[in-house]
Amino acid sequence: MSPLLEVEGLTTSFPGPNGDIPVVDEVSFSIDQGEVLALVGESGCGKSMTALSVMRLVPKPGRIRQGRILMNGRDVRQLSIPEIRHLRGHEIAMIFQEPMTSLNPVVTVGVQVVEAIQLHESINKARARERTIELFERIGIPDAADRFDVYPHQLSGGLKQRVMIAMALSTRPKLLIADEPTTALDVTIQAQILELLRELQRESEMSILLITHDLGVVNELADRVAVMYAGRIVEAGTRLELLGHPSHPYTQGLLRSNPALAQPGKPLPEIPGVVPPAEEWPEGCRFANRCARVLEICESEVPESLALTATQSTCCHAVARERQNA
């Protein structure tokens, strides 16, 4: 069976003072139906831009340079404007990080969901209203019928995120892109939203592309994980593989710096430095200047992807050399 979404060699770039800067560089991944793929990485490493590229919504002046994006076997880059509009919302839906500002403040939340439904289905207002209230109930909004006529500012952050999820799911998409869906929420609400996403995903056999920097969220939800650093995927594998036996120094660093795994009494280990801005990405391995296991070759040559198991692969010269020596 071919995967639901297949991305191959995707490169998205923004014009810079000295030529184009690829903020997403030769990224490849695939998502099967009913699978949850987590895209993990620090801020500014191109996760969101990858997601926007999949929907062909890269903000100007950026553009997709090369690569194939196959959704259900159709190349997203070849679709006409009406076709892509149908794809957005109907086949791929997206929820955002900031539920506070993701709803139009001057329209009641119910009407916003009704409009989302009517956008992709010819269905009358009354039916769409019923569907919306059912959805609200399903998504765990208390007093769903009363909440229909409420304006966004009258809802809490958690409820707003639920409304956003309801809107995204109203058209029964095959793939949901969740861009840091819990980052702006407090911890108890985070757990509820994650639980809800997992339930909905199992129920409807929907695939999720989960974008996050929170390894706790990855652990809760993901089947497979791809770790991104500075526009490239540096390591990919199943959740158990990556969280259990991370091989790339960056993944290892991320895991070590997770407060949940910290040893009491000792300072929390961190990865020194920050992701450099896109115009200063080094040649060779982009992690080289922050890496503890850096070799000479890392500065000059881009590491090839190396298959560790049938599902896990990594891009690291140090790991490759170790295996050669072993």
């Binding site: 919504l57 892509i84 957005r88 919302g89 500002t101 709803l103 139009n104 001057v106 995204a168």
Partner: protein, 340 residues
């Protein structure tokens, strides 16, 4: 079609619009709350504005006949409004001081002694009647001009802000060109070019006054374009046109209302300036003031003409501004959030 028939049709449409707007306000809780809080804050100003609007509407309902021809056969066949009919036999032959019993110059007995609260003008027309007639003109100038200028600013401002690039450059070119010409000169030139009619004066005022609001709309659209809910709509597959109609435009409503109220008074004043330069609308307060200027040098002075026109103008502008301020406070999103 004759003017008075058009006027009746427009009035009917306006009344229908009022009813529609009232129904829309009643159907949405935000607007009902806003209306209630407006009434709480500014009851008197609202009543004054309503009075002006009512007079203007009564002055716009016209029909022919029903008038005793008397000695003036021509005027019996002209369409007359409700206000005209109320003041039908209030004519004198010359000036009368307020509530006087005899003519101001010469002391001949008046036809209607003691019945002119603000006196009469040089050809014996009741001044209260003239001031009331001016209301329709003032509202017409303010309203019609806004009706031309605001959609124009919205169209240009939203396209410039939303689409950016070439469109933005183009709109900015037009705006800077207009802004670099002296307003009054352009105004007079336009009126001269189009001929002096109410409509052409409104168009000229609109052309010279839309730039400021357009700039405001452009800036606000630039901000709204980057809002998360606009991104969310795009992700859902909403077309650009729909995004503008559903997400940009409704979020500009408060700006439109505030600008409408505030430019309204500016426009009425501009007309007074134009009348003073001799290119105003017939029957406006500006014209009354212009004519009364020379009367101020008479001895004994004829003061009631200019007073009546000034008071009528002052009353309307004060009330409209007070209502406008209150509307701005009520619709400002920041105060909205605090109160909820």
């Amino acid at each position: 079609m004759e003017d008075w028939i058009i006027s009746n049709i427009v009035t009917a449409l306006l009344l229908a619009g009022f009813v529609g707007a009232a129904a829309a306000v009643r159907s949405s809780r935000i607007w009902t709350d806003a209306a209630a809080s407006l009434w709480r804050r500014r009851p008197i100003a609202l009543l004054v504005v309503s009075f002006y609007v009512a007079v203007a509407i009564l002055d716009s309902i016209l029909w022919v006949g029903g008038v005793d021809a008397g000695e003036d056969v021509v005027s019996a066949h002209e369409a007359k409004s409700v206000i005209d009919r109320l003041f039908l036999d209030a004519r004198e032959r010359s000036y009368s001081a307020p509530l006087a019993d005899v003519e101001f110059y010469g002391a001949k007995p008046l036809a209607h002694p003691g019945s002119h609260p603000m006196g009469t003008d040089i050809i014996g027309r009741d001044v209260v009647y003239m001031a009331l007639k001016g209301i329709r003109v003032a509202l017409l100038i303010g309203g019609l001009t806004s009706l031309i200028a605001i959609p124009l600013s919205l169209l240009f401002g939203i396209s410039a802000g939303y689409f950016g690039g070439r469109v933005d450059d183009f709109v900015f070119f037009i705006m800077s060109t207009l802004a670099s010409m002296p307003g009054l000169l352009l105004l007079i030139a336009l009126i001269m070019a189009m001929g002096r009619s109410t409509l052409s004066i409104c168009i000229a005022l609109a052309v010279t006054s839309w730039v400021g609001f357009c700039r405001l709309v452009r800036g606000e659209t630039l901000k709204l374009r980057e809002q998360d809910y606009v991104h969310a709509a795009r992700v859902l597959g909403v077309s650009e046109f729909q995004i503008v109609m559903r997400h940009i435009l409704p979020n500009l409503t408060h700006l439109v209302i505030i600008t409408f109220v505030l430019t309204f008074s500016g426009l009425v004043l501009s007309e007074a300036v134009l009348a003073w330069l001799g290119v105003g609308v017939d029957g406006s307060w500006g014209q009354m003031i212009d004519q009364a200027r020379s009367e101020l040098s008479r001895d004994p002075v004829v003061w009631w003409n200019i007073t009546a026109a000034g008071l009528a103008l002052f009353g309307l502008l004060l009330a409209v501004n007070m209502v406008g301020d209150a509307i701005r406070d009520i619709l400002d999103p920041r105060t909205l959030r605090e109160s909820s």
